[in-house]
Symmetry: C2
Subunit: 275 residues, 2 copies
């Protein structure tokens, strides 16, 4: 959130499409839409004939700090007026019938908006009123229809949720952070050599304590242990922790015979301090 967690205030991102709410009914929903727009990096909001007039205090209460989006919203009498300066208009609608127009998934539409904006075109996306959705005249103002990939058995999609999906897809279409990462802030993934060093340590202690005394089964058991630790993708720090655990358990066993201080170096040295 903007003020609350110290983020920068919301600003328009070049090329972000205009969100056009057609005859929205509830001010709460308009506020939730603004919040969803902020989540997805959208900024420009236009309202066509909002049922209860505009502005509405309830919208601000639901916007969770996306005030700038609400403050910048413009009100229009007709869809034609709201799209007059735009060059590409998308209309979200669940089941287009008898309309001859391209129908894209939200994902493909988001990609199209990115491509169009990159060539300098001003884009907008129409969202219909809560109950009825866009009517046929509204859809005739658009050049492309957008269909959501969602459960056809339960299509009761909240207005802010509809905007959320579109905003999320728009942000994702321009996002190049990797799909899969492995977070290792203070350390890095262990080399196979480090892991082998630990496994040698572990097997030596297991030999010493008698856990591997069945020599016929020993090779298979060692392999199983090796497989288990290979799967976990341990970090160098975790390998140090594992050394410490094995040393600690072994010393503990010995201490039950002859009590003496555990050397400090063996006390799980690699456990990461939490922030």
């Amino acid at each position: 959130m903007t003020g609350r967690d110290g983020g920068a205030p919301l600003v328009p991102i070049p090329g972000s499409p205009v969100v056009i709410l057609v005859r929205p009914q509830l001010a709460d929903n308009i506020g939730s839409v603004a919040r969803a727009m902020g989540n997805g990096g959208l900024f420009h909001l236009r309202l066509v004939a909002p049922r209860d007039g505009w502005p509405q205090e309830r919208a601000w209460r639901m916007a969770s700090g996306a005030d700038r989006i609400l403050e910048g919203a413009t009100v229009h009498d007709t869809v034609a007026d709201a799209v007059a300066d735009l060059q590409r208009v998308f209309a979200t609608c669940p089941r287009p019938r008898h309309i001859v127009k391209p129908v894209l998934t939200a994902r493909a539409a988001a990609q199209d908006v990115r491509v169009a904006a990159a060539t300098g075109l001003r884009c907008g996306i129409l969202f219909g009123p809560e109950r009825a959705g866009l009517d046929n005249d509204d859809m005739a103002e658009a050049d492309t229809l957008v269909r959501y990939s969602l459960n056809p058995e339960f299509m009761s999609l909240n207005l802010a949720q509809a905007v959320m999906v579109m905003a999320y897809e728009w942000w994702t279409a321009g996002d190049d952070t990797p799909a899969r990462e492995f977070v290792t802030h203070e350390t890095e993934i262990a080399t196979k050599g480090s892991l082998d060093g630990f496994l040698d340590h572990l097997v030596a202690e297991l030999d010493a304590c008698g856990f591997l005394r069945n020599l016929a089964k020993r090779p298979g058991m060692v392999r199983s242990i090796r497989h288990l630790f290979q799967r976990g993708e341990a970090t160098e720090q975790e390998v140090r922790t594992l050394h410490g655990i094995v040393a600690g358990l072994s010393l503990g066993r010995m201490r039950r015979g002859r009590p003496e201080a555990v050397p400090e170096d063996d006390m799980a040295p690699g456990v990461v301090e939490e922030a």
Copy 2:
């Protein structure tokens, strides 16, 4: 919606992951979560220590008919209890720190859930409480973290929106409807021959009315008109409509000289009746 628009009642879809809300605060949000789950085809809901107890009438009011999801929800004292029968657990969290674990985007996580479920694994997804999100102990119950691709300047994501994005990604990961379609219910895209037939008709009438009388410019003008109509991807029915429009305009012009009835065949015969 289930009852309201005649869809089938919500049923569990095999392999759909369990949604686990950890210490949710507002019953309204739990209801909105159920609705979002229905939208994305999810069904199994678990609540860990809901702040205001359970059940709560307000949840049903916000669920827009996703009652079965709320009725099937189970309540648990701890995260450990809520995930005890699961085999893969994902945790949604905005900024993991000091945690050594795979971090996936919501999209990659949804694909992983699909793959895991296909091999028979039971999956669950943890969502933290409204203000604080999941704490470090909660995340330690998961094997994978999920990071949303959203605007880092405005991370105030509503709980139901967080579930919506994940449910949407899960549904989309299993959806094979094409990304781009062209809806032509009663007709099909015109052949180039049909379009040429119309362009010949148009050019003949433009010659007759004198619009193309500048013979030096005529070839370029004809090409421009041809380019414009090629771009529009007209259907056979729209080509018939265009024939009718040209005939109507030509006859109208002639009628100003000698009034006579327009033949009914030329009255925009191809306009699609709306449902």
